[in-house]
Subunit: 376 residues, 2 copies
Amino acid sequence: MAYVTWKLETLERFCSDVFEAFGFDKQDSGRISDVLLTADLYGIESHGMQRMVRYHKGIEKGQIHRDAKPEIVFETPVSAVIDGHSGRGQLVSAFAMEKAIEKAKACGIGIVSVRESNHYGIAGYYAQMASKEGLIGFSCTNSEAIMVPTSGRKAMIGSNPIAVAVPADPYPFLFDASTTVVTRGKLEMYNKMGKPLPDGWALDENGNPSNEAPRVLANIVGKNGGGIMPLGGSTETLGSHKGYGGGMVAELFSSILSQGVTSNECCTFPDKTGICHGFAAIDPAAFGDAEAIKEHFSAYLEALRESPRAEGAEHIYTHGEKEVFAEKDRRENGIPVNDGTMVELLDLCSYLKLDFAEYFPGYEPPAEFSGFAGNY
Amino acid sequence: MAYVTWKLETLERFCSDVFEAFGFDKQDSGRISDVLLTADLYGIESHGMQRMVRYHKGIEKGQIHRDAKPEIVFETPVSAVIDGHSGRGQLVSAFAMEKAIEKAKACGIGIVSVRESNHYGIAGYYAQMASKEGLIGFSCTNSEAIMVPTSGRKAMIGSNPIAVAVPADPYPFLFDASTTVVTRGKLEMYNKMGKPLPDGWALDENGNPSNEAPRVLANIVGKNGGGIMPLGGSTETLGSHKGYGGGMVAELFSSILSQGVTSNECCTFPDKTGICHGFAAIDPAAFGDAEAIKEHFSAYLEALRESPRAEGAEHIYTHGEKEVFAEKDRRENGIPVNDGTMVELLDLCSYLKLDFAEYFPGYEPPAEFSGFAGNY
């Protein structure tokens, strides 16, 4: 698949205009765009602009309620439960994380559990909202069931990512990972390339390991059983129960504390997805001198990066470092967007009566995409 | 290795007497024994009575300071930092978790970070202190470096377990797992059996995968490099960076917030180990009706257990269920102790001038252990 590179500013203007055309106000459109483009800046293409088509479908199907406003339904000085009323996931989530940050600044800690939201993009975005203010941030979400529990054959848990962001020098710590071994996007990538899946990723409809991407994906879509293994694989030898447990922790903070929809039922309703999130912020000053804590952590991160490398390895990364490098490069040199996504954006413009050529002058979809236009 | 089975009451009396003989008071001896025997009741032999010899060595070497009292060095209504002054890990940790519980009952949430402690046994014990009071409990610890970070060749992070306990019916949820793929005890078991290590567990001194238990263990002891892989293996294909990130989260709550000794330096001092812990308690009532939240979670756990099983699988467990079954069996039928441990206990009795035969009448070590006595 070929890529074409665009300046960040171009994509920012385009994304904002798209969401304004969908009827979101300027501020909300800016927030949704910022979440999507942060993913693209970090090189996490699966969660960037290529999701716009799914959001469009969600609005059209009525699962995303454009005008919904998040509502605080329970609150203490250190905690809150928010009902998202099926609003846009990014907007519900930014509201919830701001609430957690406010509580952490006032009390030292704030935990907010959210029900009835929608897909929220990269988990790390919200954790970083806290770390940008000198706090430790957490974010997790449940999602459509994709993870098969240890010894099971049916997906019962989402990809359930957990993100943790912590202030550090010279760059912050940002851990953001699904609790499945990989996400569905990776399977789709292998499918497109016609390559067999690596061992240890997926299960067939009988709960046996499978390397067949088309079979596993068809089963997922048809809800015929099978799915993706927890981090640690499908048996306890490599720690399957640990990834499964990590997924449950994400479930606890999202769907359990908020009494929302658990992953096994997410995305089975006509008028909502039911997706739930969990957010927390902790002020390091609740544990002493925040600056000294930051220095202590930064020194440990440096020791990790400078520790002896494996034979043939070029770099030991600490979490969030790759994103820092990717962002620097993409802010300078532009963001690559693949032709498949470009064709979707072309369609979106025709649907929303936006002038595609104004944003992307001279772009022509390659011949192999002629059948796609108007069909997404 | 052969096992001999003893009643729980026998082992309780023996353990308490041993720690009293070491000079701990009755209450403290009872607490240390309870942590150890809870591990044995749960079938986690590696963290049970077989650790007594290590604790003895720790006291003799001066790394465990018998008379130290934990001290609160920083505190807010929702948080505290405790200096363990190198006291017994179980005592420092029970004190810290009680503090977290007290804060959660008063404010909804309590987080306590501990520095300068010692090995604390099973992480889950402390998380369960909270869940037994209707709260959600968390516990984590750092430890002597054993985990090699992704692309590294030197162990820089401990086995760094994280435990989460949540009230549920008919039994509570208890997730307790190292963030390495396995713990060192598993390697020692394979070594004793003369079996090659499974793929995906360990790394040699050059950072390459190794199946050789003797080589890996010798390297660990000699600090020559290599060690155990993070959950997810040694490359990003199966999610190595995720287990590595999980280990960092345990480090954050233990050594970072308390400004204590990070895993890469734990156990390198003559007069302390420096081991750090993190504890948290959350009152579900800070998010609504605690009973309704418990019912909602219990229903999801039941749905997981009742979901379709993989071909050939007999049971889908939820976390903590195996421990419930093991405890029931062992309370009724006794706790199996292996001969190697029995010989260590015999030695311990002779060191402490306790009458071994009074606790374990008729026990004779098998002939192959004749060389071990007096040598542990």
